[in-house]
Subunit: 123 residues, 2 copies
DNA sequence: AACATATTGGGAGAACATAATCAAGAAACC
DNA sequence: GGTTTCTTGATTATGTTCTCCCAATATGTT
């Protein structure tokens, strides 16, 4: 059976407290505040386990290794800060996507990525 | 000075005839129709040269290695076919992007990626 | 507390994309 | 045509991300 370890708790907590998608390295850094001995292998292992469990979802952005976020948030997009490199959630969705889909193509889903400076880095 | 080689001609021609972004491997396959001995190292070398020259631009899509397309096309987005894995250009741009940008964030640019089936794969 | 076993940490290593190396070949110029 | 030197092709190396392995450790159970 699945055990409730300090490491797994720290990892889950990091996601909940961060409130935005985390890369494995970001996750390691945050979770190490709870469990300083945490290793990167454990991070990857738990990311996989939490994904299979349906608790985590993958966030893929152009030219970036995957990040992960807590699942079940409903349709949203992401904002990537070019300064601090963090990714934030964006509510809502711009207008008529079907309208720009090429003739004859079947649109199934879409991703939208905003770039710029987050509130903190803007100053 | 820069020499005009069969390989370089084949690579340029592949981009022009394809009319959509190419991965290094796709480029190799296409350009080998002209120059069967073409090697992957030459492909990467010429991609870099053509980029520095401003003739090529990088197209980054989520979770994918970069593709490249002929530069100077003006603002557009991309459609990724889940079946044939090819990427196509999409004209136009959906509505009000600033409207969904989080409070206090500075929006500088955006990417938009459509997914589904291209005309050929739809059948 | 003692046991059974899931989990961890750290290092080795697989997988992938791309860059460096270098001898051989091919453009450009005389 | 001969020479110079840029370019190529094949191989090897590199960087990155992620997985595997295994002895040591921690958890849940009795």
């Amino acid at each position: 059976m699945q055990r409730d370890t300090r490491q797994r708790r720290a990892i889950r907590r990091a996601f909940e407290e961060a409130g935005h998608p985390l890369s494995p390295q970001e996750l390691l850094d945050l979770a190490q505040e709870d469990v300083k001995s945490l290793g990167i292998a454990t991070v990857y292992r738990n990311i996989r386990a939490l994904q299979e469990e349906g608790w985590l979802e993958t966030v893929e952005l152009p030219g970036e290794p995957p990040r992960y976020e807590v699942a079940g948030k409903g349709h949203h997009h992401h904002f990537h800060c070019r300064d601090c490199d963090r990714v934030f959630e964006v509510e809502g969705c711009p207008g008529n996507i079907q309208a720009i889909t090429p003739e004859g193509f079947k649109l199934e889903r879409h991703e939208f990525v905003l770039y710029g400076l987050c509130e903190e880095c803007r100053t």
